[in-house]
Amino acid sequence: MRDELLTARGIDKSFYGVKVLDGVDFTLHGAEIHALLGENGAGKSTLVKILTGAYRRDAGHMALVGAEVEPRSVAEAQALGIGTVYQEVNLLDNLTVAENLYLGRQPRRMGLVDHRRMRRDAAALLARYGIAADPDETLSHYSVAVRQIIAIARAVDLSGKVLFLDEPTASLDAREVQALFTVLKQLRDQGLGIVIITHFLDQVYQIADRVTVLRNGRMVGSRAIAELPRRDLVALMLGRDLAEATAHRAAGDAPLAAPDTPAAFQFTDYGKRGSIAPFDLAIRPGEVVGIAGLLGSGRTETARLMFGIDRPDSGSAMVDGLPVALTSPEAAIAQGFGMCPEERKTDGIVGDLSLRQNIVLALQARRGWACPVPRREADAIAARYIKALDIRPPDPDRPIKFLSGGNQQKAILARWLATDPRLLILDEPTRGIDIGAHAEIIALIQQLRADGMALVVISSEIEELVAYATRVIVLSDRHHIRELTGDQISAQSIVAAMALPGDLPAEGAA
């Protein structure tokens, strides 16, 4: 057996009494690229933060080349030989390349920084990574891809045993990804242990030697990539056995509108470079379009583009057969769109405002600041939706931050329902809410559909999509790869489609 480089045994970590990691084991060998996978909230980043010294573990052991270690800070981990490159490359754009590489450890001569030697060292170091960056040029002069390699060069030069990479390819295009992988393979062949966190399964199969999957704070599998077919990997990540996943379609009836009714909302060749590849999507009234895909597959990006938060750089949008420019959420709202974002804490609720104020917010925005919603009307709207959605406690004056997650979610739904939208986009409407509220929100989605509203629902709960979607679009690696309709919709078919590689032209993945 090859030597174990970094081992962790029985790592526990809790935040505010909630267990985030539960007895996690992790083993990294030397000369290995190890992918750490898991859906949102699986505990990947917490584990990485513990292993790189940013967090302290509650229990468990950690050893580097057989010796027990307990790094108390990132700097301490670095000194031990464990380097990290974070998702947002943590370098200084305003300094030169050489200064970034040697900040804090500049070579000195007679007490003064020896620029000539620093430049020479930097050029030599970068040459080993195959990039010809001018050490004297400001870092901001270079692309994200080059900066990433510079960050890796710094981390490896500082640490030299273990390298953690958090989502290193998130903002790179296909060619840059290949250049990065060449560097990583070279480092692996020099004996470095590399841990890479990514959501792109294609890339996992391309580069990783071994995969460890976390789910709900537990380690659910660690295998050599060669022994793990893609389908099994996805099943492991989602936590379901494909065989036992049974389809249960409660409301899989045909859409209320006849299939040949013209689509009210039509997106053609709609896309944005580096975010989501161009897609076609037509939505009719009385239809629930489910969007499925692993984290990072482009689900939220699709929603952001449709709602005008991001601007498309290709394609066109039509509402009722007329072209429209969805250049801002304001423009989208004017077209009758509504959207409940995924991060309701940061993007949705205004914590200090009352429940009533939160509910009438979108309506107010739509009317403009010159026409305040009269208090009586606001009272009536708030009362209506508090009753209709059973928001508890039914006190419109209570600041919304004191409500539970499920009730906050209902309040945001109420906010958009109050504007009487024609197309409602819901991003993870049932995340982080309890079972009871869960069922109520699903019932509400079905109710809205029956009333003739068009809905687009993004969810990682596959059963949920099966229950209410009239159509399911499956995303993978930022492409809309599959559309399932009618009887095709089952948990099994969705998972199978998600496991398909997004094998598409390289430049399309930019």
Partner: protein, 326 residues
């Protein structure tokens, strides 16, 4: 090729020499060693204070206490000398006090996570108040030691003089240049101005750097106070109101980004000289109101902010084009 980050500096130097040429075309007498020497002497205290301000602004901070600290040191030194203390001792004490005062502000900014603006605003009132407490009158001083210092100069051609004050300012700039570009402390200051979060993750000692930074600015303000005392041969608590703003203007006109992280110490020297040049021109002209200095500095400041914004936009656009191609 000129790197984009040095473009504002080059612009400042070009503007200075072009403006000097224009002045000299109108008043040929301005093109003399005497005028050049006086330009340095008359702006010495502002230049010294601006060296400290450059570091603070490079780090993304601001120091509003500078003018008050200058007044405080000048009054303190004048009163001490009148009381019979030897000037050298008084100077030393003033520098220790002003440096300690700066360090304390730096510590407060770091420990309380307060904006430098607020902390140094408090420092501005404190130092000004303390100056009034010592004396509200203008305190004239005369001492053989001071006369000796003022008598030190290097002769320039055609009756010009490089006075002690001018040399002091040039020395302050030389120290500033070495500190900014040749020491780890300097690199840390730039790092702080780029992004404090990234700097911290890269191991920059934030606390130590912040304290050193404001201590340095305090020291330079104190030294500027001494230069001012020598220059006017008096200490007056109402003097140098708003000099911190002149210093900030000199730093920005000198090509330093007001948001921090980019700029050259040497640029500030030219920023100071441009302000001095305008004043000299007004004196030569004789009919213009001295407020024209403020108007021209205002216009220059505004154009520099626009220039820096444009450079940023262009380099971002270029960066985007590069990554799209790459």
């Amino acid at each position: 090729m000129i790197r984009a980050r040095n473009l504002p500096f080059v612009a400042t130097v070009v503007i200075f020499f072009a403006a000097y040429a224009l002045c000299a075309a109108q008043f040929p007498n301005m093109l003399s060693w005497r005028v050049a020497g006086n330009l340095l002497t008359d702006n010495a205290f502002l230049g010294i204070a601006a060296v400290g301000m450059t570091f603070v602004i490079l780090s993304g901070g601001i120091d509003l206490s500078v003018g008050s600290v200058i007044a405080f040191t000048s009054v303190l030194v004048a009163v001490l000398i009148r009381a019979g203390v030897h000037p050298a001792l008084a100077f030393g004490l003033a520098l220790v006090l002003s440096t300690g005062f700066g360090a304390l502000m730096g510590l407060t900014i770091h420990a309380l996570k307060m904006p430098a603006f607020v902390v140094t605003l408090a420092g501005m009132f404190l130092a000004r108040g303390a100056a009034f407490l010592i004396s509200t009158d203008s305190v004239p001083i005369g001492h053989p030691f001071l006369r000796t210092l003022k008598g030190l100069f290097i002769s320039l051609p055609d009756k010009g003089k490089l006075s002690f004050l001018a040399m002091l300012m040039l020395a302050a700039f030389a120290i500033g240049v070495v500190l900014a570009h040749r020491t780890r402390f300097g690199a840390n200051v730039y790092a702080l101005g780029g992004s404090p979060q990234s700097a911290e993750l890269m191991g920059v000692p934030i606390r130590r750097t912040t304290v050193q930074l404001y201590a340095f600015s305090g020291f330079m303000a104190g030294l500027a106070g001494l230069a001012y005392t020598l220059y006017t041969s008096a200490g007056y608590s109402l003097a140098t109101v708003g000099v911190e703003l002149d210093a900030i203007a000199a730093v920005v006109v000198g090509g330093t980004l007001l948001t921090g992280g980019s700029g050259l110490v040497l640029g500030t020297l030219f920023g100071v000289l441009i302000q001095g040049l305008i004043q000299t021109y007004i004196v030569f002209d004789g009919t213009l109101s001295s407020w024209w200095t403020k108007i021209v500095v205002g216009i220059l400041l505004f154009s520099f902010i626009v220039l820096q914004r444009l450079i940023l936009l262009v380099s971002e656009r270029r960066g985007a084009a590069r990554s799209a191609r790459g």
